[in-house]
Amino acid sequence: MSRVVPGPWEDESALVARARSGDREAADVLVRRYLRDVYELAVRLLNDHDLAQDVAQEAFISALKGLKRFRGEASFRTWLMRITVNAARTAGRSLGRRREVAIEAAADIDDGERDPAVRAVQLNEAARADRELARLPEKQRLAVMLRLKQGLSYPEVAVALDCSEGAARVNYHLGIKRLREALNESEL
C-alpha cells in the first residue's frame, strides 16, 4: 500500500495535452500554476531577482516549446523544475561567482493562526530558517527546497536534479541536519 496519496496535480496531463496542441489558455494555466515554484527555485539558485525572472521566462518558453519531446515519464511540473535548474545553472555560470545578496522573501503563511503575537514569532522563525537555508550547499539547498517547499517526492527530486533517488535522499537529510544545527546555534 502506498503511504503517499496523490497530490493536487491529477489533471495536469490533460492541460499538457491541450497546451501541446496549441491551446493558449492551457499554457496560461500551466504558467499560473507553476510560476511561483519556478521563480522561487531560480531565485534560490541565483540570488538575483532580475536574473531569476529571465530564467523563469526562459524555462516556461523552453518547456512549452519542447512539449513534443515531453514523454510524460515524470510529471510536467518535475520536468519543468529540471529545465529551471539547468537554465539557472547556465545563467549562474555567466554570472561568475555566486552573488551573496539577501533575498527579501515574503512570508506566505496561512495556517489559521490569527494571534498577531504568535504570528510575529512564526514569521521571525520562518525568516531565520530561510536565511539558514540560503547558506546550504547548492545540492542540499535544492533537495530541501524541492522536498519541503514544493512537495516533490524523492524520485521527483531526483529527476529535477538529474541525480539518483539515493543522492536526492542523502542531500535532503544532510541539508536538514545542517539546518537543525545552524538553527540551534543561532538560538544560543
Binding site: 503511504r3 515574503a106 530558517a129 537543525r180
Partner: protein, 154 residues
C-alpha cells in the same frame, strides 16, 4: 502501525503537505509525541516550508506574453506548410488527371480550342443560326452547318 525514525523523517515533508493517508498521519504523530529527535526535525521542516518567495507582480503577464509572442511564428509556419501541401496536392491532382486522360485516348485532340479560321462577314454563329429563321438544322447549307459546328466546338 509502528514507524521507525527513518520512516517518519522520510515522511515529514509529505505530512506537512497533507499527502499522507490518515492512518500514516496518525502513526507519524504518535511516533513524534514520544521521539524528541523526530519532533525537532518536524519543527525545522515546518519552519522551512512556511516561508515562500512569491513571484514578482507582472511576471506572469510577462511570461505569458512572451509565450504568445513566440507562438504566432510557429503557427504561421504551420499555415504556410499546410498551404504548400494543398497547392502540391492540387497541382499533382491536375497533372494526374491529364496523364489519365492521355492514357485513355492518346489520340484525343488537345484540350486547347482549335484555331478558328475563315471568320468574317457571313460567318455562321450560333446566334446567326437562330436568327436565320431556319426550322431545323436541315434547312442550313452544308457550309453553314460546318461553320456552326466549328463555332460550337470552339
Amino acid at each position: 502501525m509502528n514507524l521507525s525514525c527513518e520512516d517518519v523523517r522520510d515522511l515529514v515533508p509529505d505530512l506537512l503537505t497533507g499527502r499522507v493517508s490518515a492512518a500514516i498521519a496518525v502513526a507519524t504523530q504518535q511516533h513524534i509525541t514520544r521521539c524528541g529527535e523526530c519532533a525537532a526535525e518536524l519543527e525545522v521542516a515546518r519552519e522551512v516550508s512556511r516561508w515562500r518567495t512569491p513571484a514578482p507582480a507582472g511576471l506572469h503577464d510577462r511570461v505569458v506574453a512572451e509565450v504568445v509572442r513566440q507562438r504566432p511564428v510557429r503557427a504561421m509556419r504551420m499555415q504556410l506548410a499546410i498551404a504548400a501541401t494543398i497547392a502540391l496536392v492540387l497541382i499533382g491532382g491536375r497533372q494526374l488527371a491529364i496523364l489519365q486522360k492521355n492514357r485513355v485516348d492518346p489520340a484525343a485532340p488537345s484540350v486547347q480550342a482549335p484555331a478558328v479560321e475563315n471568320r468574317g462577314p457571313g460567318w455562321m454563329t450560333v446566334e446567326n443560326a437562330l436568327n436565320t429563321g431556319a426550322a431545323s438544322l436541315g434547312d442550313l447549307s452544308e457550309e453553314q452547318l460546318r461553320q456552326l459546328l466549328t463555332e460550337l466546338e470552339s
